[in-house]
């Protein structure tokens, strides 16, 4: 299916498959397997269709993600319905906890995507536009690269293994570093936020730093709060009475 997919498309497909596996976790095996197989087929068909119609790979990846994200609420409702219909041994309390947990993961995922995209974008633009700055950036460039890699790893963990709690904890550390270091050089600021915002940031000094500090602190707070409230990983599926 993904043999001819670009890196962005493969990432989008992996994220969607991760989301499908997350909301089918703990359901009866045949129900979960059917859903995963049907979605896999649909994604392959859509990907092939996009190829045939000459859709640009970047648009194709966004279209795939958008189609999945728009149906996320329905996915969760379907999941709840399956739990009720199949009379899985899940108490109403644990069902409530699970549904609440999945909502939290959804929002954490949204912020994680933004943080990771920001980090990747900064590094890519720097590598393309000013490789020397990246090479001579010293420990700051190294820290930014490591933080971005940790962001992407945390994002993957949110929807995969070992689980959302571990992913949130990784992101609680990595995401503020990404934001805080985004201001270390003008080139990076330009790459990350665009000329207009950069002008505002560099022009106003403290205000610019405050924006980045707020973004970093806010994301750290969000992920720490998420990690505290989520159940331990490996315990997010149905709990037996």
């Amino acid at each position: 299916m993904t043999r001819d997919a670009t890196r962005g498309e493969r990432l989008a497909l992996r994220m969607i498959e991760g989301w499908v596996r997350a909301y089918t976790r703990g359901l009866e095996r045949d129900v979960a397997d059917d859903r995963v197989a049907e979605l896999r087929s649909d994604l392959a068909e859509q990907h092939r269709h996009q190829r045939e119609t000459g859709t640009r790979p970047s648009f194709a990846a966004v279209a795939l993600l958008s189609r999945s994200a728009r149906g996320a609420a329905a996915d969760l409702a379907w999941r709840s319905r399956m739990v009720r219909a199949r009379r899985q041994p899940m108490t109403s309390r644990s069902l409530h906890e699970w549904t609440t947990g999945m909502r939290r993961v959804f929002w954490l995922l949204a912020v994680a995507v933004i943080t990771s995209a920001c980090g990747v974008f900064i590094l890519l633009r720097l590598a393309i536009l000013d490789a020397d700055a990246l090479a001579s950036g010293g420990w700051i460039a190294l820290a930014l690269t490591v933080a971005t890699m940790a962001d992407v790893a945390g994002l993957t963990m949110l929807v995969g293994r070992p689980g959302p709690r571990a992913g949130a904890m990784v992101l609680a550390v990595a995401s503020p570093v990404t934001f805080w270091l985004a201001d270390y050089a003008p080139a990076i600021s330009v790459a990350a936020f665009g000329t207009t915002l950069t002008a505002a940031i560099t022009g106003s000094g403290v205000v610019g730093l405050a924006i980045l500090a707020a973004a970093g602190s806010g994301s750290a707070w969000l992920f720490l709060r998420g990690a505290r409230r989520l159940p331990p990983d490996g315990n997010t599926s149905s709990r037996r009475e």
Partner: protein
């Protein structure tokens, strides 16, 4: 008369009233119409082909969301409006793609599509919205 868009097809649309038990909603009529049209053309009816057909008919640039589409399909199979089966693995292997889950409209589904309320009977996707 207003065009029924993908957004309005969603059972989660804020403006859409919560459906009563047994009531067929917009997305389900749209799926029945698309499935009947595909069946009439002799084409396979599966999730993505339905999403494409609905997008074509509604003149929408975006496809029906996975969650909305497959939740509705599952509900319609449970209610006997559609039947589903997995295509043989050999066919999929020959075509070099994952297996499709194929749907067929049952007699009850065809009856439901034909006997929709007057407001939605005028056209496939044009409904009277208050």
């Amino acid at each position: 008369m207003h065009l029924l868009t993908n957004r309005k097809l969603s059972s989660y649309s804020v403006s859409m009233a919560r459906r009563r038990e047994g009531q067929i909603i917009g997305i389900e009529y749209a799926i029945l119409d698309a499935a009947l049209a595909l069946q009439g053309d002799g084409a396979d009816v599966y999730g993505f082909s339905l999403a494409r057909r609905i997008a074509e008919v509604t003149d929408s640039s975006s496809l029906t969301a996975h969650g909305t589409l497959y939740k509705a399909l599952g509900r319609m199979v449970e209610r006997g409006l559609l039947e589903s089966s997995w295509e043989p693995a050999e066919s999929a292997e020959d075509a070099g793609r994952p297996r499709r889950r194929l749907y067929t409209v049952t007699a009850e589904g065809a009856r439901a599509a034909a006997s929709r309320p007057t407001a939605t009977a005028a056209g496939t996707v044009k409904v009277a919205l208050a």
